[in-house]
């Protein structure tokens, strides 16, 4: 598509629920990134894929966070047993190459109550 698409735009989860956030990158973009943006903060790196390979997951805050990109296109970020501190905007970005910068989606705002 023309841009990076994320769904849902908003998600309210009860504490302890599992959630799945979807990212559909720009067609042909090899690199895909997930970032977490807390209120009033800059985006914080979570994980990076090159095609279907997850090359860096050093930013995932706990083992409750899991990301996959099985066919090298759409990616899903899953958070198990959500906690209040997981409330944030989750941004997905894709890139053609390192020097191009990222194209970001509009994000998914997760609120854990």
């Amino acid at each position: 598509g023309a841009g990076v698409s994320q769904s849902p735009r908003y998600k309210v989860a009860k504490r302890g629920q599992d959630v799945a956030l979807r990212c559909d990158p720009i067609s042909g973009h090899v690199s895909l990134f997930w970032y977490q943006q807390a209120l009033g903060q800059g985006p914080e790196f979570l994980t990076y894929f090159q095609n279907e390979a997850q090359l860096d997951k050093s930013g995932l805050p706990s083992d409750r966070f899991f990301a996959e990109r099985p066919e090298g296109s759409v990616s899903t970020l899953k958070i198990q047993r959500t906690q209040q501190e997981d409330s944030a905007v989750y941004l997905c970005a894709s890139s053609l190459d390192r020097g191009s910068g990222y194209t970001f989606g509009s994000g998914t705002r997760l609120t854990v109550v």
């Binding site: 690199s31 990134f33 800059g42 990076y48 390192r98 910068g101 970001f104 509009s106």
Partner: protein
Amino acid sequence: AQSVTQLDSQVPVFEEAPVELRCNYSSSVSVYLFWYVQYPNQGLQLLLKYLSGSTLVKGINGFEAEFNKSQTSFHLRKPSVHISDTAEYFCAVGADTGNQFYFGTGTSLTVIP
């Protein structure tokens, strides 16, 4: 690793006045530098980028930035701001040896009529 410092969290400026948003970075390797803009409830949009070559970079919406290696800075400037420039601005740095980018905490630009 790289890091980014945005010295001003909030910058109010009158319409048609010039503005400078400051960004300093730290890195032990060659870097790529970016400025992104984020409008309310939207993802990040690339304003401009520095990869190599000329240290003065021009971007969209009349913005420009100057890379200063000796001062490790990449300040964003606009000679005359509009109301529509009111948004959050993020500076980001990436190393040419890595994949992820590091973002600053953002500067909220408010243009006053």
